[in-house]
């Protein structure tokens, strides 16, 4: 749910990293927290179990000057991947402006990727949202491990919605592909917001013109 403060010249967006358990969602945020310079990031907050598994969400606030004349804030969240935490996943999805689906490239968890992707669609549906009108990208993580599926197979498996979306190969543990994924989803989110904003401006202007004619 984007928020614009015209007074403070600030725009905020929420981006959620979604995916099956242990696919590397938290590792994405941890790498970004290390790699993004001070001044453009806040502290990273992790609500985890004792075993370091995400219990509720991880949160990393980032700041950029991407939209001209406005401080552009991106609030990054992860969800817990374990099936038992579906209600918390659903809560964290609320108000998302964009999504990064982090898939695990290993053959033996391919079914979990598909289940998690279906779960994402179902949870979005509870808010009246769909992947057809929400910016998202796919990240195929753990490309450094043996026994991984080729990217074109994962693309065939996961990228078959109403629109084809950008896919990135990554190794979140060393940062490969992590920043690239963030930059792409940030661009898609901003482009989507600006398109909707301009449509709103155009329809307001049209309404005003009609009002003038009526008068």
């Amino acid at each position: 749910m984007s928020f614009v403060s015209f007074g403070k010249r600030e725009i905020s967006f929420k981006i959620v990293y979604y995916g099956p358990p242990l696919s590397g969602k938290t590792t994405n945020l941890e790498h970004l927290h290390k790699a993004i310079p001070q001044g453009a990031k806040g502290p990273m907050t992790m609500l985890s179990t004792r075993e370091d598994r995400t219990l509720y969400f991880d949160f990393l606030p980032l700041q950029s000057s991407a939209i001209k004349g406005f401080d552009t804030k991106f609030q990054l969240y992860t969800v817990p991947g374990q099936p038992v935490y579906n209600e918390t996943r659903r809560i964290v999805l609320n108000g998302a402006d964009g999504l990064v689906f982090v898939a695990d490239s290993q053959w033996d968890v391919m079914e979990q990727n598909v289940d998690s992707f279906e779960n994402l669609k179902k949870n979005l549906g509870t808010y009246g949202l769909s992947l057809a009108n929400l910016p998202y990208i796919l990240q195929f993580n753990k490309r450094d491990l043996p026994n991984i599926a080729p990217p074109h197979y994962m693309d065939f498996l996961l990228n078959r919605g109403e629109k084809r979306v950008p896919c990135f190969e990554s190794v979140a543990t060393d940062g490969t592909g992590v920043r690239t994924s963030l930059n792409m989803i940030a661009r898609l989110v901003m482009a989507n917001f600006i398109a909707e904003y301009r449509m709103g401006v155009a329809s307001s202007a049209a309404r005003e013109q009609l009002a003038v004619k009526d008068a």
Partner: protein, 168 residues
């Protein structure tokens, strides 16, 4: 509610409301935030970036409370109060999509905080209902043209800050 915006005048009304709340209830800090944790107005000692962390956690905490209410078939828990040894937090929902969050030292009383939060909600709830129904572009009289540089990455790697294994 999809995207929304507030203009300068609306921001001023909300800032005044949280300022008055802090003075009257003898609290340390107060914020008005939305369901995703974005801060609409705040006053007091809590500043960025801690402010963003507090607002995200408060929004998450309240969302979980709301789900608890739903599981218990309770029409709604409208407020939560976290009591600490030195300070406490009181969170109350406003106009469905917003929250007021008050941080107060234990020398202040929760009764006083609740009283002035209720009073503030009466004042600002109509405004927040209007805000939540407006799209970002219909908020200001002359909406600026927004754009971003498509040639530059929002989070471009800087040689000084890049880690040795930073993504290509």
């Amino acid at each position: 509610m999809s995207g929304y915006a507030i203009d300068k005048g609306q921001a001023r009304i909300l800032e005044t409301a949280v300022f008055d709340l802090v003075v009257q209830s003898e609290a340390e800090s107060a914020m008005i935030i939305d369901a995703t944790g974005s801060v609409l107005a705040h006053t007091g000692d809590v500043h960025d970036p801690i402010r963003d962390t507090i607002s995200a956690l408060a929004a998450g905490s309240f969302a979980a409370t709301r789900e608890l209410a739903s599981v218990l078939r309770e029409p709604g828990f409208h407020a939560i109060h976290h009591q600490g040894q030195k300070s406490s937090i009181y969170i109350h929902s406003i106009a469905e999509n917003f929250l007021v969050l008050v941080i107060f030292a234990n020398r202040a009383t929760v009764g006083l905080v609740k009283l002035y939060v209720t009073k503030m909600i009466e004042e600002i709830e109509p405004l927040l209902r209007i805000v939540s129904q407006q799209g970002p572009s219909s908020t200001v009289a002359a909406p600026p043209d927004l754009d971003f540089d498509t040639r530059r990455d929002p989070f471009a790697a800087h040689p000084r800050h890049a880690t040795p294994t930073a993504s290509p």
